[in-house]
Symmetry: C4
Subunit: 231 residues, 4 copies
């Protein structure tokens, strides 16, 4: 069986989403990539989380061709593989319909950087894609979803490692990270940050984002060569 360890990590990331209340039924999916072998491990489509096993994970190449697995891969596979091809430093992708992040996506609004919780994980607002055209939706829709994310980061000059999540307009969030654990962790924090951003604008419609200085201070406390957080 190919990629035993990665399968386990991807399964664990999927289960972390359940444990943290980010998914309902079989919604949501996580995947991981082995860059050396050019292979992706992803959750099968529509299988209950409580019976998921590592060997049920589906292995594909970077263009979504199935290499190993009896099950059909997640229906969002083409978004995952596109992100792996375009964002070369990411090692895992997570997609959920978590309540508050999805509500920002449905409203077509980015999640502003209102506080230090946000700044600890996301170096700036979490962006939202443009609305997909009818042509894109009618065509290679799942692929186009990935393109919309990549385009949003390219045009906005946003580093996907500094802002490891994006809201797909009218749909829901995608998050990523260096590995499956980080990607799931980022998806969980994204939801927490979205909850608090929702409360913040409810309390004060024109609330200010944090200053660049505070964004720098908190983000670089946890990331980069000079990080000081943790052991």
């Amino acid at each position: 069986m190919l990629l035993k360890k990665l399968r386990e990590e991807v399964l664990e990331a999927n289960l972390e989403l359940v444990k943290r209340g980010l998914v309902l039924y079989t919604f949501g999916n996580a995947s991981g990539v082995d860059r050396e072998q050019g292979l992706v491990v992803i959750k099968p489509s529509g299988v209950d989380y409580d019976v998921l096993k590592p060997e049920q994970m589906v292995v594909t190449d970077l263009h979504g061709k199935i290499v190993e697995g009896e099950f059909k891969p997640s229906s969002d596979l083409d978004t995952h593989t596109l992100l792996y091809r375009e964002f070369l430093d990411i090692g895992a992708v997570v997609h959920t319909h978590s309540e508050f992040a999805t509500s920002f996506a449905q409203a077509g609004l980015p999640i502003p950087a209102f506080g230090t919780t946000h700044a600890d994980y996301f170096y700036g607002p979490v962006p939202v894609t443009k609305v997909l055209t009818d042509e894109a939706i009618g065509g290679r829709y799942v692929h186009e979803t990935g393109l919309a994310i990549v385009e949003r980061f390219r045009q906005g000059g946003i580093d996907p490692m500094a802002v490891p999540a994006c809201l797909v307009n009218g749909h829901a969030p995608f998050a990523w990270g260096r590995n499956a654990h980080d990607a799931a962790h980022n998806a969980v924090v994204l939801e927490a940050v979205a909850r608090m951003a929702y409360r913040t604008v409810s309390l004060k419609a024109n609330a200010d984002e944090v200053s660049q200085a505070l964004l720098d201070r908190h983000y670089f406390r946890k990331h980069g060569a000079k990080a000081t957080y943790g052991q």
Copy 2:
């Protein structure tokens, strides 16, 4: 004992509503129909969920006449039987007072199709009935509740299999499906969709619904002859 398997499925659907936090105390009820025999199995009225047993389910004909059972049926029975008589493809009906769907019903507002979570299950907004007249309320009230649902679908040209739920104005939601499992599942997703619609309009009062193209793409990914989701 009549309809052993259907009793178990209906009980399981009732318990799923409890497990997912959709009902408080003895609120809510689920039923199922055996089309061949023309019999309905429904939860008894006001019995605690944690002591409910399959043999306590009440069996009636399609006009609510009790055929088997020691207990009184749910007080909403006449709405269930009317829906079975009018919506010929449905196999089960679920009624809850789940928090967010009920709040839309109380506000007299439909649940707009704001995102793909909605589109995966409901092919358009979840409609709300007209306000019942005093005559209807004073007369065969529970029957009239069912009539209001059917009228809303007929007048709106809505296919009950494509939009498997309706909000009763000033009351709460009814959901249905091909079988008891599906009906409960739809009621659970309806509540999740209502939560996110509530958050969406809080964030942006005039938020746009998804395009017809996105509605088509997501709905038909999970439903109909060309469905690709799941195994």
Copy 3:
């Protein structure tokens, strides 16, 4: 030991409040009355719920004089006893600081009868008292709290058995019932109804209350000589 059964019922009502998430730490209290003996059983002040025992309940007369018990009674005792002296059909009183009902109390707003969930339990809006005067607060404050409730019902011509709860302005809800079980049940439903009323006005600021016809239909389905709900 006096009133063994009533102690157990009062303890159970207190624990029901914890189980349903209505109280934090030692907030909240329930009491019951034995009308024949003219005795009240009430939770002791500030004792952790998870170590509460029936024998720790405090027994007082209808004016709050301690008859049996090693512990100090709940600091809200004088509100409870006043309600027993003035509302002669009630058998138990429950006080919580449950989140949504308390928020209406803090806003100085009644809970409108927006739907059938409300109508099933409360035959009209749940009223809110006037703001207590500085004199009342500086004087027999806990007694005055009870007076404000009674005054609100008397002046509004509200039957305390038909609307078994009141919000104390700037404070929190009191609920009551024929016995301890009912009073706790009413407090739990009050919170559910408050949650949905909050959501309803968020969705539609000027939402309509249910019609008198619907209020009648639902309330009398569960209460009075012609009740049909349950077994």
Copy 4:
């Protein structure tokens, strides 16, 4: 090992924050001070709560110099030690990013004293600091955070023992108390009070705070020489 009992109390306070849903992952931290020895016990940085042990707590002096411990202390240490140096009656400090209190902090708004739940614990609004300057953020940021809190209390003439919490603008709350148990308790109640304040202003934008008389009555019922609450 130094300060065995204090380590256990600080650990217990940290775990109370987890139990009450105030922290996500390794967010949040609690510390305690031994005034006689001039030593502070604080949670290590970024260690999972479910493996935390008393011996992993870090001991520092009142200026944050490590005296005992293999782990790095919480990154917020300098705020804790400053508060101990400036607020001489406090025995413990707790910092969380709890959802509603943090949302008020992100909106730059104090938590008004809308009801008796608030008045039972906080003798007036819970204040919010000024926005930190870029110089403060770029300099001794964690120390400056503590300074902003102290300055807010000094300039507002607020007694830190009467209002045992402060919101740091754009960041999150700090709470404190006579000992670790009290500080955690205050942080938990702060979040409950913030939730209800959020609901209150949602229901009524210009809601009134409680009167000075009610604030006095409730606060002094639980605090000071004449307290009557509890056993």
